[in-house]
Subunit: 241 residues, 2 copies
Amino acid sequence: MPVSPIRIVLSRPTHPGNIGATARAMKNMGLAELTLVAPLKFPHPEATALAADAVDVLERARVCETLAQAVGDCELVIGTSARNRRIGWPALDPRECAARLCGAQGMSALVFGQERTGLINDELDLCQYVVTIPTSPAYPSINLAGAAQIMTYEIFRARQADFDGDARREQPLATAEELQLFYEHLERVLVQTEFLDPQNPRLLMRRLIRLYGRTGLDRNELNILRGILTSIEKGGDRQKN
Amino acid sequence: MPVSPIRIVLSRPTHPGNIGATARAMKNMGLAELTLVAPLKFPHPEATALAADAVDVLERARVCETLAQAVGDCELVIGTSARNRRIGWPALDPRECAARLCGAQGMSALVFGQERTGLINDELDLCQYVVTIPTSPAYPSINLAGAAQIMTYEIFRARQADFDGDARREQPLATAEELQLFYEHLERVLVQTEFLDPQNPRLLMRRLIRLYGRTGLDRNELNILRGILTSIEKGGDRQKN
């Protein structure tokens, strides 16, 4: 199976040690393509020291002025964030994120923000998804190199699973947007059948979203469920006529 | 739910930065108990700097002379190794390792060896299991702090899964008989809405059974789904009258 290329992008990194440690984590996990956006200090002896036997990743690293340049050729761009800063922004779990990156047909990118601020809104605008690493609420701020280590590990495992074939699906998984449209469709139909009281929809919809969310629906299954909802709506229309 | 205590042990660490970064990774992932065996430099300003807001973990860290002292009170001891050095030594995957640590009744320990050598044979003799983080064969040597980051992340996720599992286990899972009644109900409704052609029902029902079957429906969720089906049937009855 051809392995889809995944680029790791560090945007405005301030500590050269984090650049080197990220390069090492990448090579440990079989990734080679590193892009740095406006690094404060690079090249730097501390980056080289922490890269250890991954200096080749540093030497091949591309340096850009803007994030737009770094991800312009990518079909899928995912940003990392310590918390979901935007209501309604589709947030992924690290394993979902890794599966999507490995499932992309063309070039994809995983973007890490500056150590202190994380990704700012202008940078998030270039991302289709945000991934959040689950942490203790007592101390959610993971070191940049540590976050890169976790995410490259999950990418390696997702690729292994693809190779092993056990997590491989014939159909691609439904996207977060497709799931959202399904939930909205489901809610409309449940209001129509009078199962759901629109005055108090919250808990019921949350339970259904949790149920379908953990199932890992593929696109074919989602289309079947949407088709069922449409057939119920048509029954209601026949009733009105 | 009481959380089983898990101790992180660094044996003979030579770089104080790795001690600090491990303390930070631990606090990120809800772990508090750090033991250091014969650290080369500790306390040290570099450890403190890299611990960031996890200096409390460093301050409470226990320092021992030998690994035997560090794990003497543990019922389960697991050592990390870049490769399985002993034929027949039971080697775990990080997720299996995290599940075992979280499932232990008493104190358990996860032990990391010295940066350059890893755990030596005398140290491995004190471990019941070895865990190996999967890596690219091109560069299998993960930085000590990076390995601690991955393993603490897997421990956090295993605890989350236990917690979610417990919350879900408040409701018993639906029995095979209840599931069968649900599938029959679903089939009747799909024939009524004309989504399912009773002349050729097989493939569609098999797909839906596979979808709901892997979800692990609890009894409450099954009752919600049965209620939705009944509300659709009533809509059809209203249509007939």
